[in-house]
Symmetry: C2
Subunit: 138 residues, 2 copies
């Protein structure tokens, strides 16, 4: 397999990682994901790692990269479904996945993203109103 | 990998098949899926095969089995994201996936399931009303 499928679910993209990420696959995933964020104007990316039993430093870095890239493209990233043993190992290895949100499962991840997007929209509306006020003053 | 993750999305379950299904994996998937349908009271199952480049008769039978099992558990099955080449091959092989609904992508699959479930609910409501009428006549 050369590509991990990226599924569109409304405003979000869902990626289910089921296989070990090797160099080419990870690179393709990063590239596909930023292109999909642009194409679908997605506001959030959900990465399901429930089938992953080992997350090493490489995969940790890839997850971090994806979160940073998505952030630049104005989309939040949530890692969902992490197994307890994986969480323990990550922290013991000193890889606390900084900059990546996490949730227990896909549903909660979507709720988290919804709350963030509503917050953003309110912020934008507030800003838009602020702009209007500025214009009216001019 | 021994198990394919099954994600819960509201009333539906989502399965993304990314690897070739061998005997044990397919058996586990069938078993996990019917248990998840019971546990989550799911009304629909979405099977994403966009990462699958070859569907042979074994996989076709598994998809049919899943659809039949889910149907008995009162859940509809929709296969989504099939690649054009796979569809061509399936028909040429004489495996038209009978009894399985299909949709172009996950979003359309969810719409299809939503339309089916609303229809079912209306049917149940109509039946319930019919029952009420019977009681009032008694």
């Amino acid at each position: 397999m050369e590509r991990i499928p990226i599924l569109r679910m409304g405003h979000f993209l869902l990626v289910t990682i089921q296989v070990d990420l090797y160099d080419q696959l990870a690179e393709n995933l990063e590239s596909d994901l930023v292109h999909m964020v642009k194409k679908t104007q997605a506001k959030g990316v959900l990465i399901d790692v429930s089938a992953v039993s080992i997350i090493d430093s490489f995969m940790g870095r890839i997850l971090g990269n994806i979160a940073n890239m998505s952030k630049i493209m104005d989309a939040e990233t949530v890692v969902v479904g992490m197994q307890p043993a994986v969480a323990i190992t990550l922290v013991e290895l000193g890889l606390p996945l900084k900059g990546v949100y996490s949730a227990l499962n896909v549903e909660r991840g979507m709720q988290l993203l919804h709350s963030k997007i509503i917050f953003d929209q309110e912020e934008e509306e507030a800003e838009a109103e602020g702009d209007d006020d500025d214009h009216s003053i001019e």
